[in-house]
Amino acid sequence: MSKVEIHRGIAWHRISAMILRYWYLLISSWPRLLELVYWPALQIVTWGFLQSYISQNAGFFARAGGTFVGAIILWDILFRGQLGFSISFLEEMWARNLGNLMMSPLTPIEFLISLMVMSLIRLAIGVIPMTLLAMIFFDFNIYGIGLPLVAFFCNLIFTSWSLGIFVSGLVLRNGLGAESIVWTLMFGVMPLACIYYPVTVLPHWLQYVAWALPPTYVFEGMRALLIGHVFRADLMIDALLINVVLFIASFAIFLALLRSARRYGSLIQSGE
């Protein structure tokens, strides 16, 4: 990717064309829409009832009511955010449409922005019903968190986009044989991000690794808010700084992988 291509400007009409493309696809396929809602709903109902059961039988969980359900919702923002990004990208690979796009005036930045917007749209379709179920079944209103929720959301969505950009680059370079990374990468982050337990549970040396991941700060921040009723702005700022580095790095890697794909002819193969 040459400097000229990277800096040739961002045009809204091209970004909106891509959003329209994914929107047409979503509304043309009810299984795609159903899947967006199905898994988050299943997740919140299953784990929410588990939390209800435990909190009735354990004092700590009774006091920490909502942390588990809150963690599930925030984890889904992280996981579904990345999936929403990467699946839209995979649609181009599955449709063998990438060559058409790469040959058009669409720039890589515009392409990535459209994927980010689509990840937000897909996330909204999946997670909003999930939050409503949490209100109905478990009396947990995540919107009651207020402004800190915005900080949590922004940090999680930035991380999900960074990972989405990175895995999309890998698939672009290596073909659909690398598709499984899209579905599994975030699960590698899961134990280290300390979603359901505090960082102190980890072995001391592993805590350094955990603190290198922005989601760790978000989940620690959520527990501080729900259990200690304190909003840790310092944690959110640290997460944001790491996110900025992560985002720039993933974008640079994506461009390097795109260049490599052009060198190895991957864009005219688009297969395994």
Partner: protein, 254 residues
Amino acid sequence: MKNGTVTPQLPAANPAGSAAIEVAHLVKFYKTTRAVDDVSFRIARGSITGLLGGNGAGKTTTIAMIMGLVLPTSGRIQVLGCSMPEQSAEVLGRMNFESPYVDMPMRLTVRQNLTIFGRLYAVPNLRERIAKLAADLDLGDFLDRANGKLSAGQKTRVALAKALINQPELLLLDEPTASLDPDTADWIRRHLETYRKVHGATILLASHNMLEVERLCDRVIIMKRGRIEDDDTPDRIMARYNRTTIRGCRRSAS
């Protein structure tokens, strides 16, 4: 003219100095395989040129490098006066392509696909443009049908409509009539000829069909094992080789 590095003689009708495509000493290695081997040619604006050769001759890789989808190992490419891929932003909106190696989204209707590509290319009066293409390419009956539900011939016409959506000055076509019945293939060729005449566009098409190239092109570049084997007008190519060779070429191509 058996040397791929020699700039070929262009048909007399094409003015020198107004090249749509200039390729110089183009080389492409895939690992240790030399897919394109020191290829040079210059294509005049307003001409139709055929890249002819069997499978593995290097036609698709050459076209993909001209489009910027594949980076050359070495060599220089200029498209519409701009260096590729460095100045691709200047030219991508003025060119377009069709290839059997890419598809358009199958679940989207023909109209939706054309709308999206029209927007990507910033086509003014897009509705009118789609209506004109639908009329010209006879897409009216299936404009609102999903792309995946079309026959091979219909898909080819839709792919051609996408390739023409921005009224490109330069059209790159990779096997434009592959897997089509003779009537549909002939219909597509007629349409390409008309488009060139009306818009003065340059067309470079890769094919392994000698008949097609003979019928459509002002000039033929024959490629074999990544190198240019011959480069001349179809008539001279036909005259130079005896019938047996041409028949053999047609047979091996098909």
